[in-house]
Amino acid sequence: MSAPRPTELDADADAVVAAVAAFRSDVDRLLGEIGRRLVGQAEVAGAVVSALLAGGHVLLEGVPGLGKTLLVRTTAAAMELSFSRVQFTPDLMPADVLGTNLIVDDAGGRRFEFQKGPLFAHVVLADEINRATPKTQSALLEAMQEQSVTVGKQTYALPPPFFVLATQNPIEMEGTYPLPEAQLYRFLYKLRVEPPTGAELHEILDRTTGAGDEGTRVVLGRERLLEMRALVRQVPVARPIQDFVVRLVEATHPGRSPLAEVARFVRYGSSPRGAQAVILGAKFEALRAGRFAPSFSDVRRVAIPALRHRVLLNFDGEAEGITADALVGKLLTLLPEMP
């Protein structure tokens, strides 16, 4: 290779080196603050920050009481972002989320004025999103994808960064409306929140049943967050790494997979959004590790949360108790990193 030596780096490259180091430092500080408030769940917290900095949204799946709301609230507070929480219920209407036009009397007379809904925040917690009707769920579609809301003939831009963190309870299926695929695919990751271990539970008890609560400290500003988002997008990806991601996503499709179980149990494989999610997640992982390009291990690290909700099982798969996690895991084992 004929690359310049570290001492020969130009100013731009030097700036990149510094930016990566700062990124790593800031992420560590952010995760440290989250970890100071949230016991355990380090992996989930890391994935949430990853999605936040990659510009995606997260679907959290777990039983109530595992700290999902605390996680989101802490994340928003640590970055000095506005936060709103919406408890999704069957009678929740789109206007309840998006906002509505109200008649306002003022000096000029009566007029319609748009009353912003809870969606107009940097961080939105859509709690138990699968309890709302599809109509209300779909109200989030435009907001998540376009970062804007249209009410009537008026489109309102959402304040960047806009980050949706939705939760759903995997146990209580009565009275729920499973998210449609179009909605599901808009989440960068689908994360599973596991119950805390014994030690973590002790720590939770110690922290939450005492007198003091120090609150969350701000470690990052909104502008810095946007810079970090931009930096993630600048990370280059080597073609062999990208090729591995492409082959991985292709292999989730029944007709193109070398894995027999995929052909037997999968109805639809991942869309291109899955590949985008993996690459973005891998870029974040590279920067978080202080590297300038993602590696195969970065891809492996983010592949399951990025693809598990994009691989739709068929009836046989559901009946056999097959999980998308297992299939993607097998594919990661089966596929060679370089053919």
Partner: protein
């Protein structure tokens, strides 16, 4: 940088492993080949095996060394040796892309880390893969080459080409055959017969190679069998040609105008048998002159000649059929050999066909010439002259039949001598082989003029009783001369006396002097068994035979080999082995060069009926 060093190490490793793979494949293939060759009775020179093994090693090494090793693979190995985060791979892959601050930073980072890399850590020295397989394959090859073959074919496999070379024959061993070859060659020169000359030359070459020791027995048998078949075929063709020429001469003699030509042909035939083709062209000239002067009459003569020739074709066919029934045993064996050896058979059959076609063509030409003369064609005289010349040539070819038969006989005799292993043996061994041969043919085993009766007595005495003096069976040949069987066992005691008494009871018998071989020193079982084979005269008595009495199996067979195969004990022994014998005969695994010997041997040792021996007695 480091990637180049890594690539060199990878290539070295690939070369080594390729050599191992190539060597393994070569060793497996060679093991199979050696095993098959040994099972078929052949042998593979060790030098060739080693050379092929080395060739396999080299081919594998070259094939693997020539493979392209991408730098990306080297980068992967380097990354794995560093921290597994694919920094070098990414930098390498992004090198071709437009440079960005990120890619430059990445490249610098990769270079800095690669400097700390030790190539040996990326491609550590390790035991090449495939070594166990190579060891296993080498063991297989060694086993195939060293473990003694257990198949029957391998047990009777011919020696290796080197071992097949025999010592040069003593001077004078092949004098008789050489003389025959020389005579045939002289006759070919005298008759200007290329066919005879070729066969004589081939016999000469075979004799020379045999004398020099460069021809194994098996190869010699095959060569001689083929030569004999071709010579016999050629002799038969010559006989037909001579008969056709004689018939044509007789046809020409039927007409006054062409009679001189017929007579000229007849005289030429008589002279050819003695001193060669004298007065060549007389028949041609006579026919040409006759055609010029008397075309119509010449046409009659030519037509008669053609008619007579055609008559010999059918006779030849009949004669061939009759001859086929008179073939000698050796001739049948030669035919068997022919059937086994296609290469020897094809030229002989082609030779007969060519001869027959030649005769047919000449007959048609005679008919055509007759037609031309009958029609007053101006070419009548020239055509008649050409036919006269053709008939003279046909007559000369027929005259070579004696020489051809001589070659066939010489080849057959030489094959017999080789089959008896008389070539190169000392006089004592040759005598023993001749003795075995006589025994195999059921010939005499006793001295004197009354061979068969004496032999019969000797055999029975030897095979069954082991008595001492006065084999009753031998004596029992009513009034024959004294048997002089060669058995050496000395019976004794009361049993012998009883035997003698029984022998004396036989009418007209004399005290036989034939001796038997036996292990029983006497006793009741012996005498009566001997007497029961007496064809006439001697009294018979049934005496139970004790278990285990009599000679051993080896002794029975050994005695039969020396004294004849007509004894009942030998017949029983042979029956026990018959299945194995038939199996051996049916097996094609017997080497081709030895089939003749094997078949002939088993033919010769078949048991003879006792009565047959009696019939042969004068």
């Amino acid at each position: 940088m480091r990637l180049g060093q890594i690539r060199r190490r990878l290539r070295l490793r690939a070369t080594l492993e390729g050599a191992i793979v190539g060597g393994t494949l070569a060793a497996v293939a060679l093991a199979a080949g050696v095993a098959i060759a040994r099972a078929r009775g052949g042998a593979v020179p060790a030098g060739e095996v080693v050379a092929l093994l080395v060739l396999g090693l080299g081919a594998g090494a070259v094939a693997r060394a020539a493979r392209r090793i991408p730098l990306a693979r080297c980068a992967r190995l380097a990354d794995a040796a560093l921290d597994g985060e694919d920094r070098l791979l990414s930098a390498l892959a992004l090198e071709a892309a437009p440079a960005t601050p990120f890619s430059r930073a990445l490249a610098a980072d990769a270079v800095r880390r690669a400097e700390a890399l030790v190539p040996g850590a990326a491609v550590p020295a390790r035991r090449p893969r495939g070594l166990p397989a190579l060891a296993l394959a080498a063991s297989m090859l060694a086993a195939a080459a060293l473990v003694p073959a257990s198949s029957r074919a391998a047990r009777i496999a011919p020696p290796s080409p080197v071992a097949a070379r025999r010592a040069p024959l003593p001077p004078g061993t092949l004098d008789a055959e050489r003389e025959a070859a020389r005579a045939a060659r002289d006759e070919a020169t005298r008759l200007a017969d290329a066919r005879l000359a070729a066969l004589a030359g081939e016999l000469d070459r075979t004799l020379r190679r045999l004398a020099e020791g460069t021809l194994s027995d098996g190869a010699a048998l095959e060569t001689l069998a083929a030569l004999e078949a071709r010579a016999a075929e050629a002799a038969e063709a010559a006989r037909r040609e001579a008969a056709a020429a004689a018939a044509a001469a007789r046809g020409l003699a039927e007409t006054a105008e062409t009679r001189p030509a017929g007579q000229a042909l007849g005289e030429a035939a008589a002279g050819a048998a003695d001193e060669g083709p004298a007065d060549e062209g007389r028949a041609r000239d006579a026919l040409a002159a006759s055609a010029a002067a008397h075309p119509a009459e010449t046409a009659k003569g030519l037509a008669a000649a053609a008619r007579n020739m055609a008559g010999t074709f059918s006779e030849a066919g009949d004669g061939a059929g009759a001859n086929a029934e008179d073939k000698s045993g050796a001739r049948r064996l030669a035919r068997d050999q022919k059937a086994e050896n296609e290469s020897a058979q094809a030229p002989a059959g082609q030779q007969a066909d060519d001869s027959q076609r030649q005769l047919e063509r000449l007959r048609r030409d005679l008919d055509d010439a007759a037609s031309a003369c009958r029609d007053g064609d101006p070419s009548c005289a020239s055509r008649a002259g050409e036919r006269g010349r053709d008939l003279e040539r046909l007559e000369r070819q027929g005259a070579a039949r004696d020489g051809l038969q001589r070659i066939a006989r010489s080849a057959q005799q030489l094959r017999t001598r080789i089959g008896r292993r008389e070539l190169g043996l000392g006089e004592q061994d040759a005598q023993a082989m001749r003795s075995f041969g006589r025994a195999a043919r059921g010939g005499d085993q006793s001295g004197g003029g009354e061979e068969q009766s004496g032999a019969s007595a000797g055999r029975e005495g030897a095979g069954e009783t082991g008595t001492a003096a006065g084999e009753p069976a031998g004596a029992g040949e009513a009034g024959r001369d004294q048997g002089t069987g060669r058995g050496k066992g000395a019976g004794n005691g009361a049993a012998s006396a009883a035997l003698g008494a029984e022998a004396e009871d036989a009418p007209g018998q004399e005290a036989g002097t034939g001796n038997g071989i036996g292990r029983q020193p006497g006793g009741p079982p012996l005498g009566p068994r001997a007497t029961e084979t007496a064809p006439a005269g001697g009294s018979e008595a049934e005496v139970p035979i004790a278990d285990g009495a009599g000679p051993s199996r080896a002794e029975v067979i050994g005695t039969a080999a020396g004294q004849g195969f007509a004894s009942r004990s030998y017949a029983r022994a042979y029956t026990d082995y018959a299945a194995a014998v038939e199996d051996a005969l049916a097996k094609t695994a017997v080497p081709e060069g030895k089939r003749y010997l094997v078949r002939r041997y088993f033919d010769l040792i078949r048991p003879r009926a006792p009565a047959r021996a009696a019939r042969h007695a004068p």
